[in-house]
Amino acid sequence: MSAQNNKQAVLSGGAWVALLLVVAMIGAAIYRLSAGLGAVTNLNDDVPWGLWIGVDVLAGVALAAGGFTIAATVYIFNMKNYKPIARAAVLTAFVGYVIVSIGIFFDIGKPMTLWHPLVMWQPHSIMFEVVMCVVIYTAVLALEFAGPFLEGTGSPAAKTMTSRKVMVPLAIAAVTLSFLHQSSLGALFLLMPAKLNHLWWTTMLPYNFFISAIAAGLAMVSVEYIIASSIFKHECSMDILRGMAKGTAITLLVYFVFRVGDIMIKGNMGLMAEGSAGMLFVVEMLLVLIPMVLLFINSSSAKTAGAIFIPQLLVLAGVILNRMDVLFLVQIREGATYSPTIIEIIITAGLIAAIVLAYRVAAIKLPIASSAQADK
């Protein structure tokens, strides 16, 4: 047993700020549920999808992709040296998906009908498929997380729930379900070829979403590992960070070649020169290329976590920008305006704070973190 609890008070410093944001969010959420969607948001007939769909759902799901990526690395590809971060990655994904579901609950016009897709099946709808995959995957994540939880409570069942014969099938389910819904978040936009700029719209869009989610997931796990190591004061394994840096860089390379190659084959590169959408595309590509080069260099030479931290943050920025671009470019039409209200911002900020707090509580109360060497 190498996993250990972090010894620290749950509430200290930054955690108080997070708690405050969560409390503010609960207040805003009560207001949202009583006053209605239109009253508390700036959403309108021209821009029906805003901050919540963009950040809480599209970006949130992409950033939670570390859960299946690391589970696959450790349990399917059997690369045991990544085991120290496996639990943290699964924890992030589990907490992330629960929070995404809460975000969707606030976003739909009739929150109390959230269960409808579970019984009113519509197999011709991508959104239906996403909902089903997210529900099932959240259950898989709960099972993956059952091991650490049971260990924390001292249950004898913990040994079974952390064994390979349980974790390998769960990891396979995790990858399969994640491939389906990560790519399908992109496929949502396949219905709008006339609305979405063709620097983004392509029949390859589902694959672009999936590949970029892998990069975002690895980047998120790296960033979180560095921050958690500094907060909980345990050693940060440079081997693990460099390995993930290499993984992220290779994924970004594949993504870049795949995405730009597809645009070139379809003869749409000229759109780059057109207006603000072209500019956004260039910025997106820079946020792929710059961190890719830095990560390739640092994957062999980085001696400090800081050298990997910044480029991984850039990866996150790039993927978040990509999801925002798709979301808002598809809704561009004459006279369309939208900027989030303070309530929308409070709820999104509160949901992010809730992820941080839940992670912190779990990392302190349960055996999540492993010391870097113990598992060799």
Binding site: M1, D45, W49, I126, M167
Partner: protein
């Protein structure tokens, strides 16, 4: 056979009787509007306005003129909104209308984002909001009556019949007066075809009709993804299972 409508824009005089009849039949409230510099009123469709007449100033062949465009749900033959809806609240009926089931809708608003014609609108002011759009007066048609807008139109701008007959009628009118009409039936191919078809004496892009809408069925794009899920799942599971088996050989249980 699905019912269909031919809108002959050359016949419309902009009286807006259809707007009033639609509001009356569907019991939609009036909304206060303000002068925005043209005569389209309300300026846009909204959850209380299923149809409006767009007033467009044109200058064809040195003649300044007005065009009046009846605007409502196109009732696509293969609607993107119905393919978008995760709960099957929007469905294409065999009679022609794209219908909305209030009891299913969860308010995700994907239909609004997906519609190539930007038709579905939301009840933003409500605490329990629904999506609203033209119903093609399906309940009136089921009782053998004309849709309210068509019934009230004094100039027979709209003509209702079975789809094939509507297409034939549109082609016949264009062929009969080739100098009057532009050689384009809007809706014949757009978005895979719609049950509301338009003919006009002014090019459609000058009248604000959506450009660049592909001629293929939009739901095909997502169905090609969805229908291949079984093969993808089998492929991924088989591949990962094999990798896990070979990579895991000889690694003994370590109690994690």
């Amino acid at each position: 056979m699905a019912k269909s409508v031919l809108v002959d824009l050359t016949r419309c005089i902009g009286c807006r009787g259809c707007q009033v009849a639609c509001k009356e039949w569907n019991e939609r409230d009036a909304r206060k509007t303000t002068f925005k510099g043209d005569f389209t009123n309300p300026a846009k469709l909204n959850s209380d306005t299923y149809t409006n007449i767009k007033f467009v100033e044109t200058a064809e062949k040195n003649n300044v003129g007005w065009s009046f465009i009846k605007n409502q749900c196109m009732h696509c033959r293969e609607p993107a909104c119905a393919a978008a809806c995760p709960v099957g609240a929007l469905t294409k009926t065999a009679q022609g209308p794209v219908s909305y089931d209030y009891d299913r809708c969860i308010g995700c608003r994907y239909c609004m984002v997906a519609c190539p014609f930007d038709i579905p609108k939301y009840e933003w002011e409500s605490t329990s909001p629904w999506v609203q759009k033209c119903t093609f007066c399906s309940e009136r048609m089921n009782d053998g009556m004309l849709p309210a807008c068509i019934k009230t139109c004094p100039t027979e701008t709209m003509y209702l019949d079975d789809y094939d007959k509507i297409v034939a009628e549109a082609k016949m009118r264009i062929a009969k007066e080739p100098n009057k009409y532009v050689q384009h039936i809007y809706g014949l191919n757009e978005a895979g075809g719609t049950n509301w078809l338009y003919i006009s004496d002014i090019p459609f892009d000058k009248l604000g009709f959506k450009k660049g809408i592909p001629n293929e069925s939009l739901p095909n794009y997502t169905w090609s993804v969805l229908s291949s899920i079984p093969e993808k799942v089998v492929g991924i599971v088989a591949f990962l299972g094999a990798v896990a088996y070979f990579r895991g050989r000889g690694s003994k249980e370590e109690g994690n």
